[in-house]
Symmetry: C2
Subunit: 114 residues, 2 copies
DNA sequence: GAAACACTTGAACATGTATTCAAGTGTTTA
DNA sequence: TAAACACTTGAATACATGTTCAAGTGTTTC
């Protein structure tokens, strides 16, 4: 981040890999859904209208980056967000996106059309 | 995020697009470098040892998502991070990555080798 | 105004990745 | 133990994307 606390190559790779995983609409929806509490694969699949296979593939990636954890409950697997930093990041970035989009709307509104 | 404040499809797309842009090591390095203050393209290119063309391509994408802004100063363009949310996000996620990686190290250290 | 500097852009290519489909694993129920 | 349920995995594919190279724009200097 700054000279006193530089990123190692490995940290850089983990960091970018983590962001990359958030950079897909399906995975993002899965994470946002899981933020409400532990969800089963079937629940995610039905709620978001994504195939079970696809959800499972995505959850595997998210689990690999420790963005979610899972616990088995009889036949079902319940997935949840692994720590609050992730939730914080999602909220912070949403603030950014909403502010920027407001900014765009304001600028558009002030344009003089010829 | 929650039922009271749902994401529109457009917001979801902006959000994931923004994360996607952070999900590349080169772009992430560029952003982290620009966090220190406004930087010229040549400065970024030389400091990070990336071709000027590549840096320019990446900056174009970052600018498109309003992650950076630029200002011309005679012949040079100076780029800087557009708002503090972005810096917050980077720091939050870095915390996550570092905690998770510590966790891995601890778990690895406690493994009984046979 | 031509040359030099700083940056941008478009095309091309190689690599990566989201999704689907079909088959496979683990757990419970009859 | 066979069938049903819940989930996972591998292969295949269509599409996206990071990088390079060559050519182009805008600004200053001579």
């Amino acid at each position: 981040m700054n000279k006193a606390d530089p990123l190692s190559t490995q940290e850089l790779n983990f960091l970018s890999e983590t962001f990359r995983l958030l950079g897909d609409p399906s995975r993002l929806r899965i994470l946002l859904h899981c933020e409400e509490g532990p969800k089963s694969v079937t629940d995610i699949s039905e709620t978001l209208e994504l195939s079970q296979s696809l959800v499972s593939h995505h959850l595997r990636l998210l689990r690999g980056a420790r963005l979610v954890t899972r616990v088995r409950h009889s036949k079902q697997m319940f997935y949840e967000i692994s720590d609050q930093h992730v939730g914080d990041v999602l909220l912070d970035m949403l603030s950014h996106v909403r502010e920027e989009r407001e900014g765009v709307a304001e600028r558009d509104a002030s344009v003089q059309h010829s």
